[in-house]
Subunit: 470 residues, 3 copies
Amino acid sequence: MASFNLMSRSTSMRWRLPLVCLLWEVAMIVLFGVFVRFNPEADAAGWMEEKYKKNITSDAENDFYFRYPSFQDVHVMIFVGFGFLMTFLQRYGFGAVGFNFLLAAFGIQWAILMQGWFHTFENGKILIGVESLIGADFCVGSVCIAFGALLGKVSPVQVLIMTLFQVTLFSVNEYILLDLLHVKDAGGSMTIHTFGAYFGLTVTAILYRPNLDSTKDKQSSSYYSDLFSMIGTLFLWMYWPSFNSAISNHGDAQHRAAINTYCSLAACVLTTVAFSSVLEKKGKLNMVHIQNATLAGGVAVGTAAEMMLTPYGSLIVGFICGIVSTVGFVFFTPFLESKLRIQDTCGIHNLHAMPGLIGGIVGAVTAAAATEGVYGTEGLILAFDFTGAYATRTPSVQGGFQAAGIAVSLGMALAGGAIVGGILKLPFFGDPPDENCFDDDVYWEVVEEGENQSSLYSMQNSNGKSVTNF
Amino acid sequence: MASFNLMSRSTSMRWRLPLVCLLWEVAMIVLFGVFVRFNPEADAAGWMEEKYKKNITSDAENDFYFRYPSFQDVHVMIFVGFGFLMTFLQRYGFGAVGFNFLLAAFGIQWAILMQGWFHTFENGKILIGVESLIGADFCVGSVCIAFGALLGKVSPVQVLIMTLFQVTLFSVNEYILLDLLHVKDAGGSMTIHTFGAYFGLTVTAILYRPNLDSTKDKQSSSYYSDLFSMIGTLFLWMYWPSFNSAISNHGDAQHRAAINTYCSLAACVLTTVAFSSVLEKKGKLNMVHIQNATLAGGVAVGTAAEMMLTPYGSLIVGFICGIVSTVGFVFFTPFLESKLRIQDTCGIHNLHAMPGLIGGIVGAVTAAAATEGVYGTEGLILAFDFTGAYATRTPSVQGGFQAAGIAVSLGMALAGGAIVGGILKLPFFGDPPDENCFDDDVYWEVVEEGENQSSLYSMQNSNGKSVTNF
Amino acid sequence: MASFNLMSRSTSMRWRLPLVCLLWEVAMIVLFGVFVRFNPEADAAGWMEEKYKKNITSDAENDFYFRYPSFQDVHVMIFVGFGFLMTFLQRYGFGAVGFNFLLAAFGIQWAILMQGWFHTFENGKILIGVESLIGADFCVGSVCIAFGALLGKVSPVQVLIMTLFQVTLFSVNEYILLDLLHVKDAGGSMTIHTFGAYFGLTVTAILYRPNLDSTKDKQSSSYYSDLFSMIGTLFLWMYWPSFNSAISNHGDAQHRAAINTYCSLAACVLTTVAFSSVLEKKGKLNMVHIQNATLAGGVAVGTAAEMMLTPYGSLIVGFICGIVSTVGFVFFTPFLESKLRIQDTCGIHNLHAMPGLIGGIVGAVTAAAATEGVYGTEGLILAFDFTGAYATRTPSVQGGFQAAGIAVSLGMALAGGAIVGGILKLPFFGDPPDENCFDDDVYWEVVEEGENQSSLYSMQNSNGKSVTNF
């Protein structure tokens, strides 16, 4: 406790965190007030007009019913999936779930604005609907990924600042890819995973902590923390078909994206188990691999799932990614830490960075290989939106642009991560000293087990009293 | 163990609990047999007729597809959401999840009957469909809320008796509001939260236990119990948009209600974190606030979410409620306990009572402010159901009735809670003595960690033997 | 650790498990490549054609939107539901969740092939869509059930071998029932539960371990493991209405199946609590019963839920099954173990076998009792598919065939289980010695609490080094 008191000035969040939260939330309210309105499908007068205008006879045509179930699955992935996945550390469960909750709650608001300005800005207003909510969750997903590399080493203020910048850069990168390069990336292999992971890895490299060995104990898991983490893993794994199909075209595209993702994920589990057993001592399985590498198959079909990747193509992608990701945990993570000074707490390089790159490549190849024979004449135009200015683009050209999208995402991530890492290095954000990393006690009221436990009420009472001393 | 034997006669549930469960379930079967039938959309012959009669060409028009995904989300909120939210106590996890399970399973049956008699009673039969299931879950939600105030201090028999009465009173109150006052309350700020919370607070006031200080240890959380509780928090938070939109009109209203709730909840997280940090020792965050106050934003747009509240209006409501709720945990809960003798285990006053009242007021104001310009002429009629006897009602009059709905809910809750509290005070329901409150050991077989553990099989074996001694 | 070293040769999975996983996954890829294609509703060209051909004007008619939300609920039941339900053992949580994950991920791939060959094989190709995914999850559900009897006593290689055979036999049995006998079993009382449970019980009988008493300690639960298990219970319980309605006819049948299941499950909770209290020492509740017997009501309406069972009929079925299942845990499980040498770790006889049989009988009776008065003339034909070769079948004849389906499922399970049990008894699959049963330490890297914990990184580092010694 003595050492804690010595550093308590620097890590105390009392004024910094509330100030950031309140000011930013007020800014959100003002910006939403100026800019954000319902799109016609969520608007009382608008939907009525829409139905007249487009001769719609059934409310079932409202986009809400095509996307809301998928949205809710994505929502669970962001908050429970990523949140609990990161609870594997024995003493950082509050920070994992809690800071992920905080960053995502702020991030979705800022993402609605940023993505809205780029995509649904009409007559000075951002018009939002269920697809905006999915888009915001997606954007925040990339921040959750980056946070995985930093887990346990940053203050909540740093997390919020990173979220502000990363959401901004994400939206710019997404605009370049989807609008300027006219790239397809419905499940975000490039925009979410590649971008998010390399962004986070760059930030953590810049925030390198040379003396982190002293916390080795806290960097391991406990039996129950591993089980909590599996809650996150499984919800991510189960709902990934919804993630990759959530914003695809209505009908066959959503249907196909779900099937492809389901297949890829299934194959990925088998190769993860195989390589975990081969590479671990005595052939035992390692929970770290099961928690993470089993998900790589979902990442790697993020771009191509809505295309005619075919079920066996998806199995092949999942097969490869389970291997790549597991091998990454065993060999690359230690290498990154010791040689490149990249301290990647959750191993996002293995789960998001490499599979994200693979996903971009798979998408480029699948797009380049598209033919009218497979998609039908109309189907091909619909699948790649070869209309308007892009009416003359061919699949092989599309493949080239897809590949360019990977490079752009990677470049934006490295450059953006370097800048934001530099900002986060500034000394007044209250990050914990090395010896207090990976420990909830720094930012959370933690009741010590075994010691004389004070009750909920008495804690509150003591607060009630201390208030007079403000 | 000695003290336990002394009071074992009084808390043993052996005959009381089975008797109540079996008799009531038999009553449910008889009443369902006499009254409950499928509505036409769930009936083999009925849906066929409906399609002919209304010229419906697609099964997609069946209400099932408009509401079932939302129903499932609501279902998760009631059983996992409320159940796990209450597992924060270090030694009352079984009671939290288990008794919540029991009360909800009984309550939904009784609610289908009560709500059916008031709302879908035709030719002597209650006709049920997916909306009835949502309604029943909603009704039971108000009991889960009230149970939160009593958590750890009542026997399962008391819980069931409270459920019986509260569901009955809920249905009467709901009938007064929705049918007599023609009030809109799709997400239940008034009918579910205000009613449920003040009902529960009144009951707990009447069941006041002066010597509860002796259990202070057990009233605190443990590290893992706080993580279990976050499972409940997050599922409530994530699915709240489904809760507030589940029974709104098809199309734009459901769409809008989900968006508004999403916004309000996001804002609420930021202000909760801000105030938790400001008010806690050394600026640390308190898990009690994160688990609870982050949800207040969902409660407070329960009435207005389906109206044209707008995204920024929702942010403002969430902003305020995060503050009100967190401040409530720090100042009001200790005050309520010490001055008003209200022992509110889960702090439902902060999460449901105050935000519920705010939600009622927000609803009244939003209704009163409705204009044809915003909703469209038809849209306004549709949104507030200004048809039939209510064809001439204006938005401002509607606002007045909405306000009256708050008062009626509050009155019903206080009066009903007083009566039911008096009933529960009767000495033969097996409630635990003060020193055994908040302890699963009273009503559950608990394997003691560390001591010589008997196996599943041996427990069952010993039961098998002891049966002969009945 | 000494005893561990002695037997480490036999239980090491290093080469056996990876070999099985990789070879089988390669086989899946080849077979998918040869056989599996998208059905028209998931195919870019196919859906476009389908819309022209059938004059479909809305994408909402794509089967994806009728079934995907239910599919996702079923998916959660298989992976989180069954996975976490089995975490009740104090030291077998990794195995419960992890091996369930592994078997299900392999099983769904093999099931898509097996069920595809029997059901959607056209012109040499298996055409898959969302219903195939549900079917695969259902098939794997029966393996999860069987695994419940073997939990803690088998190696992952044995689990995979059992999955291969059981999925095969499941598909044959399903084909006999659904196609040859033309039996209705949408929720799988016969095909999933009766078959899966008796298969698993037969296998465990053949793998009888006489000295399992030595692991009594490990066969009990701990406080937190019981809470983890409740996560599984509740997701199974909440989503069971989706399970029983997932592949029913569009419209009223799906609607009705959900309502009936909801009712049956609610009643089941009440009688489970009643009998748990009556039969336990001092009237306390036993978590084993709450975790399991509360689900029996869902099993027992698996066949009849989509029929006109009526809500009160469902309540009666749930009422009975809560009793049967709880009494089974108290009396039958010890009897099965001591007299019939059936060591049923999770008590699947009580949760799946008996309720499955009851479900088959309820289905037969409900089918036999069907009338045109209740279903309507067209409705009756639609509900039981009395078309083509079955145009002249009457409800009472249908009831007879339903009954025959129970007998076939039972026979297939017992015969298949005996053969597969014999195969699994072969000595080279690495099953644990009796004293190491129910212990994750055999197949998983487990960090010991309290002892000097090595960090995530150091574990990986040491692997990195040891690799050179391969």
